[in-house]
Symmetry: D2
Subunit: 352 residues, 4 copies
């Protein structure tokens, strides 16, 4: 259940305040050039900048333990760990017998009958560093077929990139909010600053685009490319919605509006379908959006539920992002890369 | 890839105009009372009524071939088939070397290098009858723990149940549009009639609610209950979006608004989280929505792409629904039941 | 649990005296020529001849329900059923509350808490017809790469093909005992006749050889080619042992005896390793053996255990083979083909 | 493919001479007491003693990175690593472009098109330390239901425990050869010493017994308890054969000899079936044997195949066991525990 994928598989372990997080990438084909710069860049992009982040400073030094030899993958599993260094477990002592509102504290406890409360344990966003490592390797594999994955911040709160804006998605990492539209990025930074001052948090939407994907990846029924992407995205902490192509807007459209008009070369005028028809890639760019809720850890006074069955009014300490979206951009990109690379391998088996 | 689930698994085969569709339910525990009335009711509810449907009349006579003995499940796989009877394959001859707009015709061909064009083949909604069978069995299993699944039409086109309306979700099947709000149902019927007259189609949104689900079902990381539900829903034909709880609206909210306020009994005032925290059920009702695009098969003249690489202006014949949503209500319910029942079994393994 | 394989997967349902047995083959690549003669031949070879068999006469008329179009596979699941016709359920009434010795009657009951006793239910060898269908399709796929699978009877009771005999494995189906060595076949027929007269049964060993398999199929650790073959073979009813290459004999050898001597072309002088090194195929013929126990249903008077917790001395009626080995030859071949074809597809993913 | 199990799953990574080997145990229920002494004992038992081992001295210091809190499992994945310390990679330089006889060198190369030759890479028995860790955790889970797993050396070369000897299987670890029969252990030690002097190696057989397992664990068709055990055992390096109960001997028996005679309490007089009927546990002790070939790395001069396609006569250096069996005892025990514990969890889903 802590493994993602069918042929290309990422397995993940680790808690926020344990010794380390880590994992293993299995089914990774041999002979892929390993680009450690790409890996380090992706890890750096995931870390919240000081302008928008939580204050927790993890160097995220990764140790690759197997599966790579002389700069190439060997085909055997790629094991890796990242030690946890800047954990302030003391912040969590007051919470040991408390369930925070809209957190996973109580559901974990009721599932397992046991708690490892420090830092949110396995439910913490700390685990997403493992996904970013897996995603970086998946990108290396996708690059052998010129497939590119790029995610960016589309909106935070009510501030969104204006429709029709021209943006360069590949530049998202150079913006503090990961929103590659200068005016929107600045407005978002202002919103995040205000929100932090209000001891509050805020949600947002990440958009993702995959280019270079050939036609024919995906499966007809339960394992549609769109279905596996939805699964991958909704498995990210705080994700609340997924839509592909026109998404929910499609539900208000007529067929005559939504149908893409063919060009004779097999592409379409509009690509409203978002690069997937019948669950299988069309060869046109794939695009979708993921909605994230506001982080529930806010510094305002709230009622916590005690294991004693009573409400306790208190402020939650600990270092928390004011918005998960800038960080989630990296995770969306990583999970997309893992999902698409898995289909790339499966597609090798669809014809005799 | 044509199997859904981990412990409780539905495998599905069959094309729209082949001899039969069918499948097998594996991992179904022994000793569950088999309610053939429930099964027949669900099959009947899936069939589009003459007011809103395609005109294709399938009796959907199901034959259970194994796994049931003296009114109870035996623990062995439940095999079943449903023969195709009312197929008008001749309707599709003109399309044999054509790719319809926004259909899966071309992506299947590019994936497999071969076509079985009649009736849309495996991509046809005919396959969903198998899901409804699987879902009916899953419901029988869920009923042993008093878990109920109910889906209904929330909106079609721009017509939606008004916010704050009081509805009885269990009565949805008795409305032609599966929308359990009388005025909205009538308005939808009118819209569907007009849309058909315009030789057009229209999208819509299905809402689903699960009650009676205890706390602790779901997995922490990739297999969140919300992630598996998204996967299940986006694997339904024509699905374009999924959202749980506040969904996309949550992306515009502050934490102080979105956080659910605890009651001392462990429930919350608002349940804005939609019954899932950290991927695990909370014990409160689970609810989510699924967006469906308009059916691409419309009777207006359109450009089809030929295998000859040329555009061919023509009308598509064949019998098609004007909107998939009334039928999709049954499929959403079925896939939800399968997904939740799978977690019910997995939950038996989370503690020593 | 009733599905075999990872990429190429056979799912199976059905009880001995139910309406039908059947299944579905998923992950079967598109464009493979479907050879219905091969399928019928394999089904015929599985049926015990009147000389050595149980007397149950099933025509085994198979109905292919999907996944095949104009003589080729389409890439979608291949569903099929075979109706049960010649079931004598009355034979089993006396056994309804009895557990036969060395049968699965009691273990099924204790696992599921429920019984469908007729004809042995799911534990009956009737289910193996599904495997033979799956195996026939797997062979069609393997033939596209010139891989051949041949099994035969090596020994029954104490009668075995003499060491060093020259045999033609492909001719096994033309011998009543499936032993392609004339004198041994005749001796076995005599033994089976005597054993039947003694109201007894007898065990035996099936040998299998796979030729044409290229080097590089198999996985390094848990999914060794030899491990998956052992899994496939020991999943056959009545299998009690598996050995590859020198097998148990290797345990008594020295390294200097067992090491195969290289030839400069990469083949070896001896191929004592049986075509697998480190779990991966070597390119030389693969060979292994499977031991089967005597069928426990014998017509002698025995003590049966009643659900009442008492021993009941009685004779078991019903039609039973005197030896499962001639029939098991087909099943060994089928499961081998399924196992090897699965690795053929997986091998497409081992390099970038 | 480097993951073993369905509910309880061990994933494994690492090469012999890389930085570390490690893995992750997923699906391990919460609340199981973690017995670090048991873990260290099992790791120690796996290490070859100086009398019979390879001379490689690994302290096998394990670092548990997650999933354990205050002496109990938390239900989240248990990640762990063991660093490689005593690797003599220089020993392998001469072999970099050589394929040793009866080794996996060439098959890995032909599978992946790339080599990481040092220490045998992923094919080395070094990986089995990961299995022993996984097995130790599985044992802790089994102990909550009083299930015990014990393996021991039955024979090495032609020296075997005499039939009918009284042995105490739990004491096997205290014997250098892991053979709990004093005279046989001494004879084996003598044989191993002579074999080493002859620069040779030798094979052997491991026997394993599981007690306390209740009736009803296992699945009817492809996932028989015996089939999964065979898969687990044949996935161990150098395994060549598996047999359960009477095994190959059963192939020479009559039904009247092989059928176990019922006692009225549901046990049998003989338990010749080895604790499994129809793939499902009977409640009586489970027992089986695994044959191991002689280690192919012998110090005698042999022909190696060069990547240059020529034969090269040379002696192989490096430190190698003279027999893998004493070490394999631990691995058989570990893989058995993993396999049986997985069925223990699955069995929770067989009834409503």
């Amino acid at each position: 259940m802590n493994t993602f994928g069918r042929i290309l598989r990422l397995s993940s372990f680790g808690e926020s305040h344990g010794a380390a997080v880590g994992g293993m990438i299995d089914g990774f084909p041999a002979g892929v050039p390993i680009d450690m710069d790409l890996l380090q860049t992706d890890l750096r992009n995931r870390r919240p900048s000081q302008k928008v982040g939580s204050g927790r400073q993890e160097s995220d030094r990764i140790e690759i333990l197997s599966g790579v030899h002389q700069g190439k993958s060997t085909g055997t599993p790629i094991g890796f760990i990242i030690r946890n260094q800047d954990a302030h477990s003391a912040d969590y002592q007051a919470l040991e017998q408390m369930f925070r509102p809209s957190h996973a504290d109580d559901t974990y406890f009721r599932k397992y009958g046991i708690r490892d409360a420090q830092g949110g344990g396995r439910a913490s966003a700390r685990e997403t560093v493992v996904r970013v490592v897996g995603g970086a390797f998946a990108k290396m594999l996708l690059y052998t077929q010129d497939v590119q994955v790029n995610a960016y911040t589309l909106s935070i709160g009510n501030i969104s990139i204006p429709d029709g804006s021209s943006i360069s998605v590949a530049e998202a990492p150079s913006f503090a909010s990961r929103c590659p539209h200068k005016a929107t990025d600045l407005a978002i930074q202002k919103l995040l600053k205000e929100t932090r001052e209000q001891k509050d948090s805020v949600g947002g939407v990440v958009s993702c685009i995959v280019t270079g994907i050939p036609a024919g990846w995906g499966e007809p029924a339960y394992d549609k490319l769109s279905a596996r992407l939805a699964y991958a995205m909704m498995g990210i902490n705080a994700a609340r919605g997924f839509e592909i192509g026109c998404g929910f807007e499609a539900s208000r459209m007529k067929g005559s509006q939504h149908n893409d008009r063919w060009r004779s070369d097999g592409t379409t005028e509009e690509n409203l379908c978002g690069g997937v028809r019948g669950g299988i890639s069309t060869g046109e760019p794939l695009y979708f959006r993921v909605a994230f809720k506001p982080i529930p850890s806010i510094a305002q006074e709230q009622d916590l539920l005690g294991e004693d069955g009573k409400l306790h009014r208190m402020e939650i300490s600990g270092r928390h992002d004011v918005c998960c979206v800038p960080r989630a951009v990296s995770v969306v990109e990583a999970m997309t890369a893992l999902c698409v690379a898995d289909f790339m391998l499966l597609a090798r088996c669809s014809k005799r």
